[in-house]
Structure formats: C-alpha cells, structure tokens
C-alpha cells in the first residue's frame, strides 16, 4: 500500500507541471487568436486521433525515448551528459555508412549498422568522460561543444566524401540505403518501424539494469551521494566511464534507428532539426531521470509535437505552441526539483543535534 501511495505522490508533481504547461499553451493559443478547446481537440487528434496519427506519434517518440534513456542514465549517475545530439548524429552517420558499404545479407548488415551506431555514440560520449576524469574538463561544457563538432563533421562527411551523387538534387546526404537493410515496418503503410520495439525493450532493459543489478545500484548510489558510494567501495571513475559509454551508446542507437527505420539515409541536419536529442533531455528532466518515466515522458513530448503539427494543419494556430508548452513544462519541473530539496533541509534542521 505504501508503494502505491509513494508512486501517487511522485506523480502529483509531473501532473501539476503538465497542467501548468497546458495552461501556458492555452495562453499562447489566445495570443494568436485561436480557440482553446478547438485547438486542443485538434492537437489530441493530431497525436492520437486515428491509428495513422497514433503510430506516427510512436515513431517520433522512438529516437526521443532512446536518447532520453541515455541521458537519464548519465543524470542518475550524477553526470551532466548534454551531448546526446552529437552522439546521435555520429551514431546515425556510422549506421548509414555501415549500411551502405558493408557487404553481406540484409539482416546482417542491419544489425552491424545498429552496432556501429551504438559504438560511435558510446565512444564520443566516453571521450568527454575521459576528458573530465583525466583533465578535469567540465563535462557539461565539453559535451555541449562536442555536439557542434559532431554536427559539422557529419555535415562534412555527406557534403564531400560520402555525398549522394546520384540523382539531380545535390543535397548533403548519403545515398539511399538498400531496402534489404531497412528496419522493418510494424504495420503496413504506417511509419512505425521496429526501432520502436527496440526503444521499448531498451527502456525496460535500462530500468532493469539500474534498479535490479549490482552495477545499477552502484551507479544510483554514486549519483545520490558520492561520498556514501566511495565509503561503500564504489569506484567512481569506473562507474563514470561505464555510464557515459552506455549513455552515448543509447543516443547513437537513437540515431541509427532513425537512419535505418525512417530516413534510409543520413541527411545533414535531419536529426538535429527535429530536436530529438533535446526532447530526450527534456523527457529525462520531466521524469526525474527514471527510465520508465523517461519513456512515458518521451511519448508525451512526441505527442505534443505531432499534435502540434496536426493543430497547424487544421487550425490557424502555429505548431510552435507545442514548443511553448514543452518549455514551460520543463521549467516548472526544474523549479519543483528545488522544492523537494527545500523540504529535505527543513527535515534535517529538526533532527540536528546542537553542541
């Protein structure tokens, strides 16, 4: 019974945040002269209205879930890994190149491409972790800077050496990947692909890892109280490297999934323009770095985004209202994180022994 009560208590804050977010959205809708009820109705339809839209939402959620899981793990361990976007891009690029140039049967190349994506993202993330561990270079900033470097590198690769020279449109992209290597669609005619299954499996796996395994336990304790972890024998550097690798690997997987399941090529800017990685970070903040919660929050954010697109199609309200809702949501949650901290300090004071 206690478990239920505590879960419910944990849900109050995010629900409140959602309400505030929707309220902010309502204000934004009014500002552009729309009708709140109609607009939100269109938004709902756009996200979940019929099977097509629903699968679209889930398809959009796929990379957000994966990137968000990666960030959640790093945050849980106490590390501000903000490099999901760069890791995703390098993951997508590696997957595309592997898919294009590795010989072999389709299913084999597909799996190899996925692995390549995971490794690329993992290595890029590990690099930042190493810079922090070895040289004390602030992880938050290095991961952010590495995002830009990765983005430009990806852009270069598809503008010069690996550019798609077939076809008339001279776009910065790789040639299209052979159909046999594609991730299969889950439903005929719908955009949802096997990557979604991978994402859900990953969410469960990461949850299992952080909450049920010994290493996951050590990672969580490290994030909760580094001194306590050291006292208990947890090795900080090792855990940091491990969490950074897994974190980056998941982001790389997100990129690989998009390339192999939706776009069938690596297109410069496609992964960043959709802001998958940043939505992933938002999902983590919303869910307080809980793996399953992050997956749910990711779907919620995806729904906001697809819903906003539907809203734009059918009303005069621009889809950017969705961005406002997301951003206000996240800000509110960050304020709430401080709230519980305040409560804790009050508790500590009443327990304090005095000299």
């Amino acid at each position: 019974m206690n478990r239920v009560k505590e879960t419910l208590r944990g849900l109050v804050q995010p629900l409140l945040a959602v309400l505030i977010g929707l309220l902010a959205g309502a204000i934004a809708i009014l500002v552009v002269g729309g009708n709140i009820v109609d607009t939100y109705a269109e938004m709902w339809k756009g996200a979940f209205g019929n099977f097509y839209f629903f699968t679209n939402t889930l398809a959009r959620a796929t990379p957000i879930i994966l990137a968000g899981l990666g960030v959640a793990l790093a945050f849980r361990a106490g590390f501000f890994n903000m490099g999901a976007e760069g890791q995703m891009i390098l993951g997508g690029l590696s997957a595309a190149l592997t898919a294009l140039y590795l010989p072999g049967p389709g299913w084999f190349v597909c799996i190899a491409a996925i692995l390549a994506g995971i490794i690329a993202g993992g290595v890029w993330s590990l690099f930042a972790g190493w810079l922090d561990a070895r040289f004390g270079m602030n992880l938050l900033i290095t991961t952010l800077l590495l995002n830009y470097i990765a983005t430009y590198f990806g852009g270069y690769m598809v503008s010069y050496p690996f550019k798609d020279k077939t076809g008339s449109a001279a776009m910065a992209q790789t040639p299209m990947i052979d159909q046999t290597v594609w991730l299969p669609k889950l439903f005929q005619g719908m955009g949802l692909h096997a990557g979604f299954i991978i994402a859900i499996a990953a969410a469960i796996l990461i949850y299992w890892f952080t909450h049920k395994t010994v290493t996951g336990y050590e990672i969580r304790m490290l994030g909760s109280n580094p001194s306590f972890a050291a006292y208990g024998g947890v090795r900080r550097i090792r855990m940091m490297m491990l969490s950074m690798v897994i974190s980056g690997g998941l982001a790389g997987l997100a990129g690989a999934g998009e390339v192999l399941g939706t776009q069938y090529r690596f297109l410069d800017g496609s992964l960043s323009s959709a802001s998958y990685a940043w939505s992933g970070i938002m999902a983590t903040l919303l869910a307080r770095s809980h793996p399953l919660g992050t997956a749910v929050a990711a779907i919620l954010l995806a729904a906001l985004q697809t819903g906003a697109m539907g809203m734009e199609r059918n009303t005069d309200v621009p889809l950017e209202v969705g961005s406002v809702i997301q951003a206000v949501l996240t800000l509110f949650v960050s304020a709430q994180i401080g709230y519980s901290f305040l409560k804790r300090r009050k508790e500590k004071k009443s327990n304090a022994t005095t000299v």
Partner: protein, 307 residues
Amino acid sequence: MQQLFDAAMFGSTLRIMTPILLAALGGALCSRVGLFNVGLEGLVLIGAFSAIVGNYLFGNVLLAVLFSIIIVMLFSALFAFISINLKANAIVVGISLNFLAAGLTTFALRAIFDVKGAYYDKNMVGLPKWDIPLIKDIPWVGTVFSGHSPLVYLGIIIVIALQFYLFKSVSGFRLRSVGENPIAAQSIGIKVRGIQYGAVLMCGVLCALAGAQLSLGQVTMFTEGMTAGRGFIALVATMLGQANPLGVMGSSVLFGFMEALSIRLQGFSLPTHFTMMLPYIVTLVAMFFFKDRTYAQDALKAGGSSR
C-alpha cells in the same frame, strides 16, 4: 598569410567577439555571487529576438535595445527566483531556461511575424556604424577600431567599468564577498540575496546587449537558434578569465578571433564545415590548457550532481 591576417580581420574580431564578451561579463557577475549560469545561451537568444521585435514595434534602434533589456531582465529575474528563493539546482534551471528561450522565440517568431526559421525585413535599420573621428584616419588602426556598432564600444567600456566597480568600489567589494563566502557575508549583515538578484539582473542586461549585437549589429535579422552555442563559449570565457573582467576580455578576444578566422578561411578551399568547427575546437583546447582555471568551484557548489 598576409591575406589572412589583415586589418579587416582584426576589425571583424572586435565585432564578432562582442556578443561573447558581453555574455561572458554577465556570466562573470553571476559567478562572482556564487551562481553558475548555464542559461546564458537562452538569455542571449531572447535578447536577440527581443531586439528585432523592439525594432519592429518602435522603428527605433535605441528603443529596440532598451526593449530587449527589459525582456531579458524579466527572464533573468525568473532564473534568480527559481535558483535563489526556491533553491533549485542552478544548472538544471539554466538548462530549462535554454529550452524555454528556444521554444518561446520559435513560437513568437510565428505568432508575431508569421514566419518560420528566420525573420528579415530589408527596411529595418540595424545598429549604426560609428566612425570615430581622428582614429578612423590612422592606417590599420582605423580599420580595426573604427566603424563598429555602438555596442562594440560599449562592451569595451563596460569591461573597464566593471573592472573598476568590482575592484575599486565598496559595492563591488561586497558583491565579491557574497560569492566568496556567503555565510560569512551574511554574518556581517551584508544582504546576500539582494546582491545575488542584482548581479543576475545585470547579467540579463548584458545578455540583452549581446543578443542585440547579434541580431542588429551586422545583418539585421533573427534566425532560429542564432546564438549557436555562443552562450556556452561565453561561459568558458568566464571560466578562463577567472570571472575577472580583463581576463574575460582576453579570452573573448581569443574566441572572437577564432570565429573571425573561421569565417575568413571559408574563402579558401577548405570545406566550410571544418572552419565552422574551429571555434568549438579552440574552446576545447583552451579548456585543456587552462584546466586548473576551468575547474569552476561554483559549478561544483551549484550541484555537481545532476540528480
């Protein structure tokens, strides 16, 4: 080589470094009162957008800048409230603020101007170019120092003013005490919270000016995400400069020079992608070489743990 490092290049450096410098000075003030402000990127973005909006509303560049200042101050007040009063983790608040800035500017771009991606009005007048009498006639020096927007000169003046304020005035002295040892400052009766708010608001003003320089200083337009990481580079400039106005100026010149160089190099046969990478790589390298300096204590205090 001669082609590369000519006077125009150094002139560009001054122009390009200004947004970084102003934001970094704002970051330095926050740092001096113990707050690690990761939200500089968002604040500058809001500043850039608000300056365009102000120009659109009032048709006057000065009013546009003032409008921008007011708007950004509101957002930095929000940052101050959540970080100081609600005692939230300043880093998480800063990240959220960046999200908020991106979302709101994108929305407002649609709502106000009904465009996506960028807003450009060929009739809109940006910041004027001031020719400094006497200086402009000196060869080389004139090319470098004359003909910039007023904000460029303001930036340099603010560096000197802040240096004086922090190290010569009583008020600046007490401000520094707040960041150095807030408990001790409190015990003497110094109003710690008030000073922190003041510093954050001033940071807002500086970020507004930085944004205005971005959107009105060269080409008068606003592009989504136009800050492109400059807020984070400014943060590094703050750390390298040890939150010291003159030091911050030094690192800002370095980063500005690198960005100017990367633009210049685009004219050569190197792929633009590598030239555009240059500022970020240089920042990383600078962090490596000055690793002791970038070990920001207040970043740790603000909560090294992301939980």
